[in-house]
């Protein structure tokens, strides 16, 4: 069994992958079952878009569940997904604000690593108020999990498409 230790937090990739696969397949089945049986009124693209969103959310949530509440990012991800309905309404506003902040940050460029750390904080969920040390740790864990997730999804897609 290959296990990676990052300062106390052990990440067992195999068990993580298995859990993720299990959960993801189950959620896929659920999505398929709950999907409306080929409603002709709504267009195909919309349906696919909706399904895509659902699958993506299912993938992320299943990954977070597989990792468990040990890591910060998984907790943040679960919280975000749980409160997705509330956030969905405010999405447009948030996008506008983000654009403004981006411009502001571009105008006032500090030292290079700080700027990049900010970017990284934006990418990794739940890393907005972290020091650099734990940010890097979380990033490492997040990357490993993402890569395993991608592998599983890739395999599934390959099998299904053929």
């Amino acid at each position: 069994m290959t296990s990676i230790t990052t300062s106390g937090v052990t990440l067992n990739i195999k068990s993580c992958r298995t859990k993720f696969a299990h959960r993801f397949v189950r959620s896929l089945l659920q999505i398929r079952n709950h999907a409306p049986p080929s409603s002709s009124s709504s267009s195909e693209e919309k349906l696919i878009q909706k399904r895509r969103q659902r699958i993506k959310i299912a993938a992320y949530s299943s990954m977070a569940h597989a990792v468990g509440p040990r890591m910060n990012w998984s907790r943040a991800l679960l919280f975000k997904l749980r409160n997705r309905a509330c956030r969905h309404r405010k999405k447009k506003r948030i996008v506008v604000i983000r654009r403004k902040t981006k411009k502001a940050s571009r105008s006032s460029q500090g030292s290079v690593p700080v700027d990049q750390a900010k970017k990284l904080r934006r990418l990794v969920p739940g890393a907005k108020s972290m020091d650099l040390c734990s940010l890097l740790e979380e990033t490492a864990h997040y990357i490993t999990c993402l890569s395993t997730q991608i592998k599983v999804m890739q395999a599934l897609a390959d099998h299904l498409s053929k």
Binding site: H22, L29, I31, R32, Q116, I143, I150, A155, S161
Partner: protein
């Protein structure tokens, strides 16, 4: 010390007696002589010989002698010893360099290296101002005194080597006195004694202080004389005020105030020292913490370097962080793309749900039974395949899937020899090459499914040995 006191009293009284008839030159000469005498005494005194080594001993004595506020000398010594001990414990080669780097070089030097000398000087600095102004208050020596004051100041600020500066100051004084008194023999003597004077200057000053103290407190008549002298001296002398608010007149209210101020100055210096020590400790702790953090960060960076492909060639934090950001972004995009792909594929799933599961399960099975022969593997996989499929299909309630699986099962049961061919014909087997991703990880997943699927009537039917073996394998 005690022996030296009467001499100094004489010295102090001398100007008063001489002043009636003689000029100020004589007073200077007399004073020099008295000092020479006192120096001779001093050489005999064993305590004062060791005074330079026991800088803190001196300070304790001085405290008890000078300041009216009763400070036990032992305590002061103890404290000094403590401070000294601290400073002696500290020196570790790299820390000094660090202090130098941080720009606390001077402070560190005072505490670490020349802790004794530096402190001595600080205290001397306080006392010198008063003492010098008192002893050398004749008009011709004003310039020299100023010089000496300057020298003291410069000592206090920067120079850690106390002895040299003391000598320098002494030399200045000597020169000035020379110019005023023009007494060759006495100056020669003094030049002789200059080396020891540098060392014993401190004791001299303390004795001066003690002198003035005892003058006032213990011996009434001498104090009267002294006051007389000071009164008489007043019109001729230009009083140079000390820097620290010490009055030149030893019996005025200002003097008393200045003494209390002296105490406060001492405490100030102590608190300053303590602050410096605390600051040093804090800085050291901070440096250690920062170093640990840096090590941690570099460790994480290395780990990330291994994790992110194409990050090994890049050196520098910024570039690596850039690479990491790009990688994370690409991964997230990939997830999005794959979810899109799965969504596009999903509608077709409705028709061949069993296929999905067969495909999903197959690579795991293939990995599981690599050692077994081809035919047995096929049968195993077939068996293995259809249990979960059946279960899932039953749960989903799709007639198509059940029919197909039933057919397949019947085939497997009826003709175990022809299983490979029949299954090769079916869609699921030929399509799935055993990918490395699914190798051993979905085994567990599959096992779960398999054990759930065991409840199906499939089990009750009689089977060949190979399939039972496969069962065992699966459970393993």
């Amino acid at each position: 010390m005690n022996r030296a006191l009467p001499e100094m009293l004489n010295c102090m009284n001398a100007p008063g007696t001489f002043l009636a008839g003689n000029s100020t030159d004589m007073t200077v000469l007399e004073r020099q002589r008295a000092r020479m005498k006192w120096h001779q005494h001093e050489h005999n005194d064993p305590i004062q010989l060791h005074q330079q080594q026991q800088g803190y001993n001196f300070s304790g004595n001085e405290l008890s002698g000078v300041f009216p506020v009763p400070i036990p000398a032992g305590q002061a010594q103890g404290f000094m010893g403590l401070v000294c001990g601290d400073s002696e414990v500290k020196p570790d080669p790299c820390s000094e360099n660090r202090w130098a780097e941080l720009g606390y070089g001077s402070c560190g030097l005072v505490v670490n290296n020349n802790g004794a000398a530096g402190f001595e000087e600080m205290i001397n600095g306080h006392n010198n101002n008063g003492n010098i102004s008192r002893t050398f208050s004749c008009p011709p020596t004003v310039a020299a005194e100023k010089k000496s004051n300057d020298a003291v100041l410069s000592q206090k600020i920067s120079s850690p080597a106390g002895k040299e500066s003391f000598k320098k100051r002494k030399a200045d004084k000597v020169q000035s006195n020379k110019a005023v008194a023009a007494e060759d023999d006495s100056t020669e003597k003094r030049m002789k004694g200059c080396a020891e004077e540098g060392d014993s200057k401190i004791t001299e000053q303390t004795s001066n202080k003690n002198n003035t103290n005892n003058d006032r407190e213990s011996s009434g008549d001498t104090s009267k004389d002294n006051s007389k002298a000071s009164e008489v001296q007043k019109p001729d002398y230009i009083h140079v005020r000390a820097r620290r608010g010490q009055a030149t007149d030893s019996h005025s209210l200002a003097e008393r105030v200045s003494r209390t101020r002296g105490v406060s100055d001492f405490y100030k210096s102590l608190s300053l020292l303590l602050q410096i020590i605390l600051f040093n400790c804090l800085c050291q702790c901070l440096i250690v913490i920062i170093q640990v953090r840096r090590e941690k960060i570099s460790e994480r960076m290395k780990y990330l370097q291994d994790l992110v492909p194409g990050c090994n060639k890049i050196t520098g934090k910024a570039g690596m962080l850039d690479e990491i950001i790009n990688y994370v972004q690409s991964l997230q995009r990939q997830v999005e793309f794959l979810s899109m792909k799965l969504a596009a594929v999903n509608p077709r799933l409705d028709f061949n749900i069993d296929d999905l599961f067969a495909k999903e399960m197959f690579p795991a099975c293939a990995a599981n039974f690599q050692t077994i022969g081809m035919t047995s593997e096929m049968t195993n996989s077939a068996y293995v395949q259809f249990n979960p499929v059946q279960q899932m299909v039953s749960s989903c309630g799709l007639d198509m899937g059940i029919n197909s699986s039933d057919l397949a099962l019947r085939r497997t049961i009826s003709a175990p020899v022809s299983i490979p061919e029949t299954f090769l014909d079916t869609s699921c087997f030929t399509q799935a090459p055993p990918t490395a991703i699914w190798d051993a990880d979905l085994q567990n997943l599959f096992n779960v499914e398999f054990q759930q699927g065991r409840t199906t009537p499939f089990q009750s039917q009689p089977f060949t040995g190979s399939i039972e073996a496969s069962n065992l394998k699966m459970e393993m």
